[in-house]
Symmetry: C2
Subunit: 140 residues, 2 copies
DNA sequence: CGGCATGTGAGAACTGTTGTCGACTGTGCG
DNA sequence: CGCACAGTCGACAACAGTTCTCACATGCCG
């Protein structure tokens, strides 16, 4: 049986008022800062329970930390500023179709995909930037 | 200056004879098992050096472990079978253009993206058909 | 209300990764 | 060839994120 506890409700609430991603530790810190008393273990447990329920989506950062977002409703992707962390949701039928087609051509079925776009947003890009023409060489 | 050392060559060799992904620890274990004496730190260093050189590609597993793969240096994406772990490289100008355009529309610059497609490959999807080309043993 | 399965939380333990530092060794030079 | 030395090695410590442990608390059901 699964109980409704103060802590579980509170974790849920954090993600409701949150935009973008948060790691378990951030959730914990935020709750502590907000006056809630909660253990780190409990945050992990609550977050994982929410993931199991499909209410949260989890991905990994490059550093290996798990971060969570509330957005399981409709399919979309994220555009993340690598400086300030601001996240925008974007949709793209184009890329959905492309992925399905490519996978199909290789005989794959039951296809899912993950796509994250990283960049520097206009605000973060404004300050001192050495190269006016900053064409990254490796990506196209 | 960058030296050619026995260890670095050996790590490189492991990925040459390897298909698919391997974690740093797997590389270390494999080398030890093969009689090579090498430190774990050295494996991490060598692997990261190879990633920096663009000779290896690194991603994270769901468990947070970093795994590495030798793949072509040009930009591409991976189509991964969630059953056997077989990986195919795919390219898609379409999706590159889409990502750049979408990011640009939001004022983002210096844009990169990651895209992984997961599915079940034809061989693994066939109900009672034991595929002649079976999964490599230690794929994730 | 009372019983008890379930949840909590502080801290220990664990895992993967990175840092440290003395010893070692390719590499370039004479 | 041999020497100097910067780059490298490797055992181990340190670290961060996550999971586990276990005594105690608490929501749920009758």
């Amino acid at each position: 049986m699964i109980r409704n506890t103060r802590q579980r409700t509170a974790v849920n609430a954090v993600f409701e008022e949150l935009e973008g991603f948060a790691s378990a530790q951030e959730v914990h810190a935020r709750m502590r800062a907000g006056g809630d008393s909660i253990g780190l273990s409990t945050v992990y447990r609550a977050v994982q329970a929410l993931v199991d329920d499909g209410e949260l989506d989890s991905i990994r950062t490059d550093s290996g930390e798990a971060i969570y977002r509330r957005c399981s409703t409709r399919h979309h992707h994220h555009l993340v500023c690598r400086v300030c962390g601001r996240t925008e949701e974007v949709e793209g039928p184009t890329v959905e179709r492309w992925a399905d087609r490519v996978a199909g051509e290789h005989g794959f079925v039951d296809v899912k995909h993950t796509l994250e776009i990283f960049g520097t947003c206009a605000a973060c890009h404004a300050p001192a930037e050495p190269s006016p023409v900053d064409a990254p060489a490796d990506q196209r």
